[in-house]
């Protein structure tokens, strides 16, 4: 306490953003505990020089801090020792100290000539400013349920796809990937699926406008909006939640150049799953199939032939900086991830330039540009399928080491006579895309209280796909080579024009926002295919004939939105927000093309009340309420119209025709989601932050592509089909177990429990899509399986058995066991299993430890109570149905029936199959719960003194491992399946799974 009087701390209560210490050396005054940092002093000079030092809280000098006199272009930066010197002409000027990673501070200088400034690193948490909808607000004062994930938390896992990075990081944000293929993105479902046939994917809002492109490396922060008070402004498209993506903007100050490199390798994680080798398969088949023992002379491990150790590279260079007038952030990124399946990889090039300039004192312009070029090489020639089913008896290579061609190898025993290794020498399938996004945003301060803004975006994208099957391969052999070309062209124009009025009246403050937004998008898609290509030549001009007729279509969609929002607060204690949205979309029928949505939210910050103020235990407490209506517009264009197809599929013998295509429903209307949320945010001792939310979401007039009985002449009709409810609880707990000293430890646990129930179906129907594995039935979870119930193996004869429900003359239903599959594949005998494809709860658990320069973190994600239909067992666990496919090694606890009296899990194997035992039933339904060590990372920040010697300002290295361990009962390679009803991968289904990969990575990052 030697410098008791020379070091005075001022806690700035109003903003709470930073802690600053300053030394007015000319004054030995008592600390001013007021709400202002204004320091009064006699004015004794017209122009004077202020000198000082800027340091961090750890007392390290901060070089490159930007210091600007507010409202002028006058300024400087601190030198290598953190010293600065600045001439000030006007006493009472305000100095702005800003530096990346530190809280910006404004200091009014009334005459002090020496200022020692301590900048504290950006305190996130409750004081983080988050962008919600059309405005930015401190998390502390929000009335809605949001989750934010900053860049650092986001990018522990290595991937080029945002959903993969979000998995397990925010409660209620359920990420699932149907595939470990790097060219396939995972899907996201927020707070349960509230729709049947419309989309379940959340809406992405990038840099303030709907949709747009971004690369995860450029992301500053992600905000997930979950309840209607926040999502509602996105009206018809907000039903599935909104993910706000903000890319990095430069900060005034010294130019920073950062270089980040990650290198590593990946392996397929195949869990407990094992395929048989030759001896195992021979022994198994010998009981039912006369296999020649000569087959044993070959033992090919097709799995190993199809999978490899894959390499992952990620290189990024960025520069940012600027003056107080103009700031910029530019970056370039190269990403390459090989798939663990051979010939499969993803390469991405990404460029971004974000610039912001104060053109005049009132007008600010931002120009954002992003260009992405992606090249995907898809796994092809049935590589993955063959890896599972090819027989180990068949050779991969001949005596000379060349891949065997199964078609011409007389002794080939596998069904498909296919060696993908032979095909992959010549075949390929790839997709290339170039996507650009250009934003021009203007903000104009019309008056002190009114801001006019215009946010405008143009997206252009082009994509092409090529699939080439060489004539020398099985895939291209029949037609003398096949070539498929696809081209897409899409563009989208959006303008969002906003007026914001904001004024404080004493303790009252009011913000009113008006937005008019219009969007139009255009899509074009064309394909052409040819056959008869010379070997090794892969362009359409060398094709001698068309394979199928060329196709193309173009489509346009328009949206228009008006919204108004009023936001009122009193004394930072009471907050109210209300909004109204009117939206038009050409997706809907002419009678129902526009719809209205409203939202209300309120919150009360208890900790700002007198009775809790300065409470040492409960340092923050807030209660939130919200209610409102949003819509879902993710349906195909023209869904309400009765249509005839005039495409070539309606032509006959070369003449154009028109055939009935879609049954019309002129009454089709918007799906509306009514949602309520109650939440609380609490901080204890400033160390533990807890957010809890309880929500109830009811979707009415569900859009449903209802299958029709064939006699209607149509396959389906779009209807509004009833209502479904999702309700749940979610929480997020962050504790800073150790802080302050050299050792810190932070823990995060988030969990979400969601329950889904179909409340009613239209016209009082009990079930839609009966006979489906996942039908829709009133009173049931949308993901609940309905199947013939497997009743095990008859110990007497090894037959498969199912439960058959029989109604006797008195109407009493009894269960019988039967071995006749058709008798249980009936409406009566199919039963609800009580098992759902959607999880009972999901979550994530992470711990971060740091000691001096070292950081160690471990992050688990977990899924509980979901059931997976392991469809692949149809192919390789089918009791002898295919002697020409490989079989899986029985999982622990499974057994095969061999002789009368055996109590077994698997029926007697019979070639050709044992009484349809592999047909759809609860037999292949497995517990899909899992816990996964998603990421472990050890990082080391090289001490500043050491790196400065070699010219860097910061440097760190890390070792990271993704998906190191998975705990599950699932018998397949990977229990993770899609939890979304839509998309490429079906809900709850595991079929010829491309397993997720285990990655090991080394990262080197430095800043110049």
């Amino acid at each position: 306490m030697k410098n008791k009087f020379s070091k005075i701390l001022y806690r700035l209560v109003t903003s709470g953003v930073a802690v600053m210490s300053l030394l007015p050396s000319a004054l030995n005054a008592a600390p001013d505990n007021g709400t202002t940092n204004r320091i009064s002093q006699r004015i004794n000079a017209a122009e004077f020089t202020v000198k000082g030092t800027v340091t961090s809280a750890e007392k390290e000098a901060l070089p490159g801090v930007t210091i600007v006199v507010k409202g002028t272009s006058q300024g400087t930066t601190s030198d290598a020792n953190g010293n600065f010197s600045l001439s000030i002409s006007t006493p009472g000027s305000t100095l702005i100290f800003s530096f990346i990673g530190y809280a910006t501070r404004e200091v009014v200088v009334d005459g002090a000539k020496t200022l020692d400034i301590v900048l504290e690193s950006d305190v996130k948490g409750l004081d983080e400013v988050v962008v919600v909808g059309y405005s930015a607000k401190k998390l502390r004062y929000l009335s809605s349920s949001v989750s934010t994930i900053n860049n650092e938390k986001l990018r522990d896992v290595t991937s080029n796809e945002l959903p993969n990075l979000l998995q397990g990081k925010a409660p209620g944000v359920v990420v699932s990937s149907g595939s470990g293929d790097p060219t396939k993105a995972a899907s996201i479902v927020i707070r349960g699926a509230g729709t049947i046939s419309a989309g379940t994917s959340p809406l992405y809002v990038v840099d303030g406008n709907i949709d747009g492109t971004y690369n995860p490396v450029d992301v500053e922060s992600i905000t997930v909006l979950k309840d209607v008070a926040a999502t509602g402004l996105y009206g018809s498209r907000a039903a599935n939640g909104v993910i706000i993506v903000n890319t990095k903007m430069g900060k005034a100050g010294k130019t920073e150049i950062s270089v980040n490199n990650t290198l590593g390798f990946a392996e397929a994680s195949s869990g407990k799953f094992k395929l048989m080798n030759s001896q195992q398969l021979y022994d198994y088949q010998s009981s039912f199939y006369p296999r020649d023992p000569s087959a044993l002379s070959t033992n090919t491990n097709w799995w190993n032939e199809a999978f490899r150790t894959a390499f992952v590279n990620n290189h990024n260079i960025s520069a940012s900086g600027g003056t107080d007038k103009t700031t910029y952030y530019i970056s370039a990124n190269y990403y390459k991830e090989q798939g663990t399946v051979v010939e499969n990889d993803k390469t991405g090039y990404n460029f971004r330039a974000n610039m912001k300039s104060h053109l005049t004192s009132k007008l600010t312009a931002s120009v954002l540009f992003n260009g992405q070029y992606t090249k995907d090489n898809y796994q092809n020639s049935n590589t993955l399928y063959d890896a599972y089913v090819n027989l180990p008896f068949d050779p991969a290579y001949d005596a000379n080491g060349a891949p065997v061609d199964g078609r011409y190898y007389p002794k080939w025993l596998g069904r498909d006579r296919e060696n993908f290794l032979q095909s992959l020498q010549y075949n390929y399938a790839n997709g290339k895309s170039l996507r650009t996004s250009l934003d021009v945003n203007l903000d104009y301060d019309l008056t002190k209280n009114i801001t006019l803004s215009s946010y405008n975006r143009a997206n252009f994208s082009n994509g092409s796909t090529v699939t080439y099957y060489d004539r020398r391969t099985k895939q291209g052999g029949a037609n003398g080579g096949e070539l498929y070309n696809g081209n897409t062209n899409a563009n989208r124009l959006l303008t969002s024009n906003r007026i914001r009025y904001s004024e404080d009246f004493g303790k009252h403050s009011l913000t009113v926002l008006g937005v008019a937004e219009a969007e139009t998008s255009y899509n074009y898609y064309a394909t052409v295919s040819g056959k008869g290509l010379p070997a090794g030549h892969d362009v359409m001009s060398v094709a001698t004939n068309v394979l199928t007729s060329p196709t193309a279509y173009s489509e346009q969609v328009a949206f228009r939105k008006f919204l108004g929002q009023a936001d009122y607060s009193y004394d930072n204690r009471y907050f109210l927000v209300g909004s109204f949205v009117n939206e038009f979309s050409s997706l809907f029928g002419k009678n129902n093309s526009s719809a209205n949505f409203y939202q209300l939210g309120a919150s009360w910050v208890l900790s700002n009340e007198n009775f809790l103020k300065n409470n040492k235990t409960l340092t923050f407490a807030k209660i939130r309420l919200s209610h409102g209506i949003v819509g879902n517009a993710t349906i195909p264009n023209f869904a309400s119209l009765g249509l005839y197809s005039i495409s070539q599929s309606a032509s006959y013998a070369g003449l154009p025709g028109a055939s009935p295509f879609q049954k019309g429903n002129p009454d089709l209307t918007w799906e509306k989601i009514k949602s309520s949320n109650i939440g609380a945010d609490i901080s204890l001792w400033n160390r533990a932050d807890l957010s809890i939310d309880v929500y109830n979401k009811t979707s009415d007039d569900l859009l449903y592509q209802k299958p029709l009985t064939a006699t209607t002449g149509y396959s389906y009709v779009w209807v509004n089909a009833g209502s479904v409810r999702n309700r749940g609880v979610e929480f997020n707990l962050t504790t800073r177990n150790f802080t302050g000293g050299d050792f810190t430890w932070e823990t995060n646990l988030n969990m979400a429990f969601n329950r889904n129930k179909i409340l009613e179906l239209s016209n009082g129907a009990a079930t839609f899509a009966p006979g489906n594995r996942l039908p829709l039935a009133a009173g049931h979870d949308m993901g609940e399986y309905n199947l013939p119930i497997w009743a095990g193996v008859n110990p007497e004869n090894g037959d498969p058995q199912w439960e058959k429900l029989v109604t006797d003359a008195n109407g009493v239903i009894t269960k019988e066991l039967t071995n006749v599959y058709s008798s249980v594949q009936t409406a009566q005998s199919r039963q609800f299993t009580g098992k759902s494809a959607t999880p009972k709860f999901t979550g994530g658990f992470s711990n971060t430890f740091s000691y001096k320069g070292f950081t160690v973190s471990a992050f688990f994600n977990f899924v509980y109570g979901s059931w997976v239909y392991n469809d692949s067992r149809f192919y390789f666990d089918n009791d002898g149905l295919y002697e020409s496919y490989n079989a899986m090694v029985l999982a622990k606890g499974w057994s095969r029936w061999e002789k009368p009296g055996d109590v077994a899990t698997h029926p007697k194997p019979i070639v050709g199959g044992n009484k349809d035992s592999n047909q759809s039933s609860s037999r292949y339904l497995e517990d899909g719960s899992y816990i996964r060590l998603r990421n472990v990372r050890v990082g080391y920040t090289i001490p500043a003194r050491a790196v400065k010697k070699i010219g860097f300002s910061r440097a760190n290295i890390f070792l990271s491992a993704d998906n190191l361990w998975t705990g599950t009962k699932f018998s397949g390679t990977d229990p993770e399946v899609s939890f979304a009803r839509e998309g490429e991968f079906a809900l709850g289904l595991s079929s010829i799974k491309y397993p997720i990969s285990r990655k090991f990575l080394l990262g080197v990052n430095f800043t110049l």
Binding site: E418, Y553, G657, G912
Partner: protein, 502 residues
């Protein structure tokens, strides 16, 4: 300043609102048209009728339908178990969720519903051109109902058509009615089909090419349907109307081996075929053959799966007359003159590739499946005559077909030779149908409607689970429940009025 700002503000707001509102546009689809404009004028009838034909091209109709009609026969041998539901069709191990039965049923009713739109639109007093088109739609509706009723309803002679058939889908039914249709009896469906065909024949005046319906096409189908319902007089009558029209002629012996390679429209023998262009590959051939473009056989998996072959029974039967041209529709898979066997079974299955469904206009796997041809009509007439006791007439027609196939002298039948072989006249006609119309989807109906069993005694997966496996017999009685398919469970689930077959 404030005032100036207000003006700017209101001007801006006004412009933005107007601009945004101007974005309220609707767009038209590019590959579809609104149903209200699709069939609004007389000029649309032609286009929409083409659309009805186009629906027959769907694999659910063509491919699944072929599998269902042909695979249960004794002309075919499956050499190995397939993951495809077609294995069950072949082995008579049907299930009520059969992929192919579900496919066929759903596409069949879509064709009927499409035809109904035109049938309802065109009045009976319309122009000759429109009446022709209405007649074509009536023909298509009748044909599809007939195909449905013989797949899902028991053979007509059993219980005189009183067994459950399939739902009859007429034009102009309400939405509520079509959702709750029940199965009409087999007889009711036959009567409905006959009535449609008679109307169709009366309406159609043009002689279009053989890829469209016309008066004689309707007559040809009528003769077949009457034969199926044992009305031999009418079968004879309509067969005569077709033959005597002189619109069709048997291909010459020299052209005959390339019957399925020539362009459909130039084939004088074909009465009706569903025309597939050479980029509309139906995929029937891929199960039967793997070959190069010259038709030389190749191993499995080159141009096709080649898992189903001509049965040993068929090969042995046809081998009695080495000069029989119909052998040319089977391509034995020989390597250096040695016949290859599919080794997946014991005993192994000889690989006799069937080439009736490939190389249309020299395109691999291209084929326009023939639905009605003149040889079939001659043999229908022969069968009707045989049943009516007109022995000479029956033998004449059979010999006409045999002579065209290159047979002569003692290879042709006489009443005496038939007796000497211990055969009845009906058996002789059916034998001729077996040889002549093989793989074209006739065999199972020819046997079961005549109350005869289907006997397989050759290597194939049908004997897979016999003990011992060297016993390769399978006999299916015409009364076997699995002579017909299960009604697709998916349909029963949505329409409780549909009853299941036992």
């Amino acid at each position: 300043m404030i005032k100036f700002n207000s003006i700017k503000l209101f001007l801006t707001l006004g412009l933005i609102t107007m601009f945004s509102a101007s974005c309220e546009q609707y767009f038209e689809p590019t590959t579809t048209i609104d149903e209200t404009t699709a069939l609004a004028n007389e000029s649309d009838v032609q286009t929409v009728t083409i659309g009805t034909y186009s629906m027959l091209l769907h694999a659910n109709y063509t491919t699944s339908g072929h599998y269902m009609m042909e695979y249960p026969s004794d002309e075919i041998a499956q050499g190995q178990i397939s993951s495809n539901d077609l294995t069950r069709l072949y082995r008579y191990t049907h299930i009520n969720t059969s992929t192919h039965a579900t496919n066929f049923w759903s596409q069949a009713y879509k064709v009927i519903a499409a035809a109904n739109k035109v049938i309802a639109f065109v009045p009976d007093n319309a122009s000759a051109e429109l009446k022709q088109l209405k007649g074509e739609n009536l023909f298509l509706r009748a044909m599809v109902h007939f195909n449905l009723v013989r797949m899902f309803g028991r053979p007509y002679p059993q219980n005189s058509g009183a067994n459950p058939g399939v739902p009859i889908l007429k034009e102009g039914m309400s939405d509520a009615d079509v959702l709750t249709l029940s199965r009409s009896s087999v007889k009711e469906v036959y009567d409905f089909v006959i009535s449609d065909l008679l109307s169709a024949a009366a309406l159609m005046g043009s002689t279009k090419t053989n890829i469209y319906a016309s008066k004689e096409v309707a007559y040809a189908l009528l003769s077949k349907i009457y034969l199926f319902k044992e009305d031999n007089e009418n079968a004879l009558k309509y067969a005569n109307l077709v033959i005597d029209s002189k619109r069709y002629s048997l291909l010459s012996s020299s052209d005959y081996p390339s019957y399925f390679k020539m362009a459909t429209e130039s084939n004088k023998e074909t009465i009706f075929a569903v025309r597939h262009t050479n980029v509309q590959i139906a995929g029937i051939g891929t199960m039967y053959i793997s070959s190069d473009q010259a038709g030389n056989p190749l191993g499995q998996g080159v141009s096709g799966w080649a898992e189903l072959y001509a049965s040993k029974k068929y090969i042995d039967f046809i081998a009695k007359y080495p000069e029989d041209l119909r052998k040319s529709f089977v391509t034995p898979y020989n390597i250096s003159g040695v016949l290859q066997f599919n080794q997946k079974l014991t005993p192994a299955t000889p690989m006799y590739y069937i080439n009736k469904f490939t190389l249309q206009e020299n395109v691999i796997n291209a084929s326009s499946p023939v639905y009605l041809r003149l040889a079939d009509i001659y043999l229908i007439r022969a069968e009707a005559n045989a049943k009516l006791g007109k022995q000479e007439a029956a033998i004449t027609d059979v010999n006409l077909i045999r002579a065209r196939a290159g047979l002569s002298g003692t290879a042709l039948h006489t009443a005496a030779s038939i007796t000497a072989q211990g055969k009845t006249l009906l058996e002789t006609v059916l034998d001729e149908r077996y040889v002549e119309l093989a793989f074209e989807g006739h065999r199972i109906y020819d046997l079961f409607r005549n109350n005869m069993p289907m006997v397989r005694n050759y290597p194939g997966t049908h004997a897979q689970n016999n003990t011992p496996t060297t016993d390769i017999r399978q006999t299916v009685l015409p009364t076997d429940p699995r002579v017909v398919y299960y009604i697709p469970q998916a349909e029963i689930n949505q329409n409780s009025k549909l009853t299941q077959n036992p």
